[in-house]
């Protein structure tokens, strides 16, 4: 590593990547917190939302200029988020809810099935060739001294911070947020309070799916949109959620950011070949599981009697 400038450069890259992981990890962790179940279709929900956002953007963008393209971009993102939210709720109702009382393996297999169905459906409807999402602005780097930051990175950071703060406030302060925490602590007792647990579960899927769509749409600018775009990113975000302590919301945020930083600095500083970048996540997963199975912020789970 040469200089401070280089360090900040990697820091910026790591934070943006990590922010994306964190947004996706939140969906895994929130669902796990309530249902003790990993939604393996989460990455495909991200992909579907990204496609819808892309189509909307291409349709409304037209000859818009400057500021208005940015407005169009965020509007399209919002539509993608809403689509994913509805999709997430529908999947839960159709493919997971009927299996809630079955063995733990059943909904897991159902999720893997849904994942295949969604990615095949996307490939069949829209082809396997990636579709480019145009930047809504000139993405040439802005030079701050020796550091080069792209407007894309700044947008990612702003969106990630806004989403995380909003989510944290919602979970900590609002009536519904408290009900979500209560439900994840003890479903039966939550029902005794008059909380409609099924509705809380649906809302959890909606929020997690919308956050995933946001992340998907943001990275689509760089990686484009294609049927398996959510697979690897989703898997790594899942690792981030486990590293942070699955079921713990702050843990997902910390785990995501940490994973992004480690990947970036791993390649930059330790000279890990770029081709092995994806491997880092899984090596970290194995180490964390060996040393601290409950994750960084997770609590050791006591078996309920």
């Amino acid at each position: 590593m040469g200089s401070w400038a280089e360090f900040f450069q990697h820091l910026m890259n790591g934070l943006t990547l990590g922010g994306i992981y964190a947004l996706i990890a939140l969906g895994y962790t929130m669902v796990y917190g309530i249902l003790k179940f990993i939604n393996f279709a989460h990455g495909d929900i991200l992909m579907m939302g990204s496609y819808i956002g892309l189509f909307v953007y291409n349709a409304i963008r037209g000859e818009l200029l400057g500021f208005w393209t940015i407005i169009a971009f965020f509007l399209s993102m919002l539509v993608g988020m809403m689509f994913s939210a509805i999709l997430g709720m529908a999947i839960e109702k159709i493919a997971y809810k009927p299996l809630r009382k079955a063995t733990r393996l059943a909904p897991l297999l159902s999720a893997i099935g849904v994942s295949f169905i969604l990615s095949n459906l996307a490939a069949w409807m829209w082809g396997t060739k990636s579709k480019k999402l145009e930047y809504p602005f000139d993405n040439s780097p802005i030079h701050l001294g020796d550091i080069a930051v792209t407007p894309h990175q700044i947008m990612i950071l702003v969106v990630v911070v806004v989403m995380m703060v909003a989510l944290k406030l919602f979970i900590d302060r609002s009536r519904l947020g408290k009900a979500m925490r209560a439900t994840s602590l003890d479903q039966d007792t939550a029902k005794l309070m008059g909380i409609k647990v099924d509705r809380i579960i649906a809302i959890t899927f909606a929020i997690g799916s919308a956050l995933a769509a946001t992340a998907g749409f943001l990275i689509a600018l760089e990686i484009k949109v294609y049927p398996s775009m959510g697979t690897m990113t989703g898997l790594k975000a899942f690792v981030a959620a486990v590293v942070g302590g699955i079921g713990n919301i702050s843990g997902a945020m910390v785990g995501g950011i940490l994973l992004g930083l480690i990947e970036t600095f791993g390649v930059a500083l330790l000279g890990i070949p770029y081709a092995l970048r994806d491997t880092i996540a899984f090596i970290i997963l194995i180490i964390i599981l060996l040393v601290k199975p409950e994750g960084l912020l997770g609590k050791a789970e006591k078996e309920k009697v």
């Binding site: 009900a179 003890d186 039966d188 007792t189 029902k191 005794l192 309070m193 008059g194 909380i195």
Partner: protein, 265 residues
């Protein structure tokens, strides 16, 4: 006094184990009714059946004349296909069992066995959850204030995570949480379990106050038979999932069988 809760000939099973057999209990408005029985008799199962956490195999439970639980399976309504093809005229007539949240909204609150506080939530947040069904913020604030006066220790601990509370404090917290929704019927599952005698006494005094001053009907389940019978108007004795004895609590305290089996005399 009018009848508030009618439990009629209910049975509940866990797989092959029949936990309740043909149980009938009637609770009139304003009373304190207790159910005593040894560990494993089926007391908690009965309370879970009332609040819709365990399905009935047979019989029915009505609250203020409305059926809140019954055997849904007998009508084929558990099967979506049968439900789909059923004559809509009939479908409109038969009522299903209510969900637990719906039963709570009718005015029934349960303080569950082992307290079941939301350990990672603060005392205040727990009380907020107790008032989840209430939309009126002013009413919630008034209720909280009442609870902090009634259980001063909770007021002092309002910002603390509930897991840091002692057993007795958690029990008071669980009772206060149940009272937040201003229920008409309060179900208590062994409120004295694992607590020191002085604290148990305090809790039972509070239960009497809740009953007398707030006019809340109380259905109390206890292993501590003496305390329960002294506090209640009527009592039922459960053995192996059956009601074997029902009488006024005064009479039960004098009953030779009860004395021998439950009062250690």
């Amino acid at each position: 006094m009018s009848e508030l809760l009618s439990i009629d000939h209910i049975s509940v099973s866990y797989g092959n184990i029949q936990a309740l057999r043909d149980v009938s209990i009637h609770v009139r408005e304003g009373e304190i009714v207790c159910l005593i029985g040894a560990n494993g008799a089926g007391k908690s199962t009965l309370l879970k059946a009332i609040v819709g956490l365990e399905p009935l195999v047979s019989g029915s439970i009505a609250y203020k004349g409305e059926v809140i639980a019954r055997n849904d399976h007998a009508f084929g309504s558990h099967n979506p296909l049968l439900r789909f093809f059923k004559n809509p005229k009939h479908a409109a007539q038969d009522t299903r069992s209510l969900r637990t949240d719906e039963i709570a909204s009718r005015g029934i609150a349960l303080v569950p066995e082992g307290r079941r506080v939301f350990a990672d939530l603060t005392v205040e947040e727990n009380l907020d959850m107790g008032a989840f069904l209430i939309d009126d913020d002013a009413f919630i604030a008034k209720k909280k204030k009442e609870m902090y006066e009634f259980f001063p220790i909770l007021g002092m601990r309002r910002k603390q995570k509930t897991r840091s509370l002692s057993g007795g404090e958690q029990q008071m917290m669980a009772i206060a949480r149940a009272l937040m929704s201003a229920p008409k019927l309060l179900l208590l599952d062994e409120p004295g379990l694992g607590l020191a005698p002085l604290i148990i006494q305090d809790i039972f005094e509070k239960i009497e106050i809740i009953n007398k001053e707030d006019n809340v009907t109380v259905f109390l389940v206890e292993q501590n038979a003496r305390m329960a019978l002294r506090t209640s108007d009527e009592g039922h004795v459960m053995e192996n999932g059956r009601i074997v004895l029902s009488d006024t609590s005064e009479q039960l305290l004098e009953n030779e069988k009860v004395k021998a089996a439950y009062l250690g005399e």
